[in-house]
Amino acid sequence: MGTIEMDKTKHTRMGGLHNFRSEYSVEIMMFLVFLLLCALISVLTPRFLSAGNIRNLFWQATTVGIIAIGQTLIILTAGIDLSVGGIMAISAMLGGLVMSNTSLGAGITTVLLTGLGVGVLNGVLVSYARLAPFIVTLGTLSITQSLTYVITDGSSITGLPAGYRFFGYQRVFGLPLYTIVLIGLFILGHIMLKKTKLGRFLYAIGSNEEASRLAGVNVKFNKMIAYSITGLLCAIAALILTSRLGAIDPDTGSGIELDTIAAVVIGGASMSGGKGSLVGTLIGVFFITVLHNGLNLIGVSPFWQGSAVGAVIIISVLLDSMLRSR
């Protein structure tokens, strides 16, 4: 054992910077690749770095980003949430209906409560009924999407009250409100993961559920919280998206589960839980956004973009496993 121990002591002496480097090794790697991608695209098309396009990037990253925060929490517990798109759709749609018939405030409350409600339902089924997260959320995805069509008979809601534009168009200190919300939620989430009990428990549960339980962690409750937070985040994302678009479509959010999962994975999280961070997820979100945006600007057919995203997912996981086996 002597040689191994000596080797490790050397590392500690290098102190805090080294700790940061070893804790975020995957994230740093992905960030460098991300910078490389940005450089490449900006060489190919000068429009990429224009102020207008950068604003555009932040808008495109908003919805996926907000939901990817929740997805990260769930994936840390070794779970998954496929129902995020469905939660967006049904919460926006129910909220829109309430809004048209009563008041703006009641409508917004409905959006948030619906999102939270479906999240809690997911959480209860996963934690207390011990069902597989994949199956539960596949089921609730299907149900929420179908109910969204049922309640409006497949049509969109337009003519939303003027006040509703607040979420999509309000500016604070010259920045769009939604950008501040996105960054604020990431910072809050990061603090939650690193500095609170709940954060520690999510890592612990994903790493070893039984050991966590035997140490006194309330595994079921904490898992349920992760799904509930995600439901609420879906509602917030739905508010911002539909406000900006000025209409509530029944297919709001469709396909977003894959983008959020991809962002989390590109950010270095492990699907088997216990490993990942919101720093990584933030990089993953912008990675995907920039990739789509850049390919559009260069004029690559949208048909090809799926291949690009898929390749990035696989390569990032490959890099991760190579980094780890070293």
């Binding site: 609170t196 009990k197 050991a211």
Partner: protein, 514 residues
């Protein structure tokens, strides 16, 4: 014994990255002997065994087998030469039958290279069973997944025989076996040996080494330390060679006078393992209560139901006046319980999380506020690491980068931070080396002297005898005997844990009450 050299290990070194696992190791293996390769965890004994069997390839040096230099890059090549290894993790396919597993890669069992000759496989398997001269009463058509660990190991050994192995290496073969199964394995080893098969037995269990081996080769930190004739050696000498210093008596008896304060009272507790048996036991402050029973006697189940890890049927568990039976685990822990589970890897630790986070898991779950005080955590973690002498690089390293003994110390540290009054220890020294064992024993002693009460489950008799103030013996789900340390002996305990329950009843064994 004729001392023909069967295999010669010549100047073998092995590096894994920057870690040197073996340094210039040389020694002979004689034909027809049972050789024990001995050393603490990480000493290099398993690595050498795996190089001989083709699992690993050496960085330097050579292996000469039967006068010919070997260069086996796979276990298959080694098997073809007559060397087979039975690893701790078996290489069996669960949903295939015994016969199919044994002859999986044997060309003769397939016609035109495709069609399996089922009849021939079964017959040959039965013939091999006979050659072992041990009757396990196995059906060659039985699926491997339905076999016990001991039976699967037997299949692995038979598989080795099927390739006419002249040298069979057993890597820590007894780690998952009960005492009875170990006896079985030893009988099998002796039969094979009598048939001219040379055996290498990799182990760190002293009593087993002295029971079965002819000769012992000791490793420490990747270096060959010593070879000795088993009959001309003793435990003290062997421990000294393994640890590299004089360690005194491993099982020096430590007993203490428990204080007259009842900390734990378990009354009429019934669990799913043995629904008809009500358990009654009690524990005073500063007392170590040993619980001994064979694998499957229900000792782990009893511990888990006292702690509250598994649901119970009825009964009461009162710790310091508080009823915890049927309550959530968190309440049991906050009332003063702690438990180091039997299976460190699957139940005790968050393997890929940091040492820091592991040490703080129970504290965070039961004592901490919502926001963590990272500075204070760091200070306390460092203090515990110093106290328990956990050998590590950084507290941010994952806990699976530590040796077994240091992992177990992390598991201890986790509970010491919440300062339990009653700490349940289920096999606290399983899979850790002798040096770490000493430290665990000293820690148990220290905790008891400081007023913690301990419930100690162990399948190592000397351990139970040395540490316990009182001993409960379990047999088939029941507590059949309570012994004071002054009257307990290995023979007496073995008697009560192996006897037929009716016999014990007639000689006046109480059922654990007093």
């Amino acid at each position: 014994m004729t001392q023909n050299t069967l295999l010669e290990v010549e100047h073998i070194s092995k590096n894994f990255g920057v870690v040197q696992a073996l340094k210039d190791v040389s020694f002979p293996i004689y034909e027809g002997e049972i050789l024990a390769l001995v050393g603490e965890n990480g000493a290099g004994k398993s690595t050498l065994a795996k190089i001989i069997a083709g699992v690993h390839t050496q960085s330097e040096g050579r292996i000469v087998f039967d006068g010919e230099a070997l260069a086996c890059k796979t276990t298959r090549e080694a098997r073809a030469k007559g060397i087979a290894i039975v690893l701790q993790e078996f290489a069996l396919i669960p949903h295939l039958s015994i016969a199919e597993n044994i002859f999986l890669t044997s060309k003769e069992m397939y016609q035109q290279g495709v069609w399996q000759n089922h009849q021939k496989m079964v017959e040959e398997t039965e013939a091999l069973f006979k050659r072992t001269m041990i009757d396990f009463d196995l059906d060659p058509n039985e699926k491997v997944q339905n076999l016990s660990v001991a039976q699967q190991q037997y299949v692995e050994i038979v598989k080795a025989l099927s390739t006419n192995a002249r040298l069979i290496i057993l890597d820590e073969p007894t780690s998952a076996l009960s005492q009875k199964e170990v006896q079985h394995l030893f009988a099998l080893m002796q039969n094979l040996n009598a048939n001219g098969v040379t055996l290498i037995f990799v182990s760190h269990k002293l009593d087993e080494i002295f029971t079965i081996s002819d000769r012992i080769v000791v490793f420490r930190d990747g270096v060959f330390v010593k070879e000795m004739e088993t009959s001309a050696s003793n435990e003290q000498e062997l421990i000294k060679a393994m640890v590299g210093r004089d360690v005194g008596d491993l099982y020096s008896i430590r007993h203490r006078a428990p204080q007259d304060e009842r900390l734990l009272e378990v009354a009429a507790l019934r669990n799913g393992f043995s629904p008809e048996t009500p358990y009654n036991l009690h524990l005073d402050r500063g007392e170590v209560l040993g619980l001994f029973g064979l694998v499957g006697s229900g000792r782990t189940e009893l511990m888990r139901s006292i702690f509250g890890a598994d649901p119970i049927m009825d009964g009461s568990v009162v710790i310091k006046g508080k009823q915890t039976a049927g309550k959530p685990l968190k309440m049991a822990i906050q009332s003063g319980f702690g438990m180091l589970p039997e299976d460190r890897k699957n139940q005790g630790l968050l393997l890929e999380q940091s040492i820091h986070d592991n040490i703080f898991l129970a504290y965070t779950a039961n004592r901490a506020h919502f926001f963590r005080n990272l500075k204070e955590e760091k200070r306390q973690a460092e203090q515990k690491i110093k106290e328990l002498r956990i050998k590590m690089g950084s507290v941010n390293n994952p806990v699976n980068s530590l040796s077994g003994g240091n992992q177990q110390k992390v598991a201890f540290a986790k509970w010491l931070l919440v300062q339990p009054d009653v700490l349940i220890l289920d096999e606290p020294t399983r899979g850790i080396d002798i040096g770490a064992k000493f430290e665990v024993y000293a820690l148990i002693d220290q905790l008891a002297n400081q007023g913690t009460s301990l419930l100690l489950v162990s399948s190592e008799l000397p351990e139970i005898l040395a540490l316990s103030d009182r001993i409960l013996v379990m047999n088939q789900g029941q507590v059949v005997k309570e012994l004071d340390h002054s009257e307990a002996s290995e023979e007496l305990i073995m008697y009560y844990c192996t006897m037929d329950l009716d016999t014990i009843g007639t000689i006046g064994g109480t059922h654990g009450n007093n």
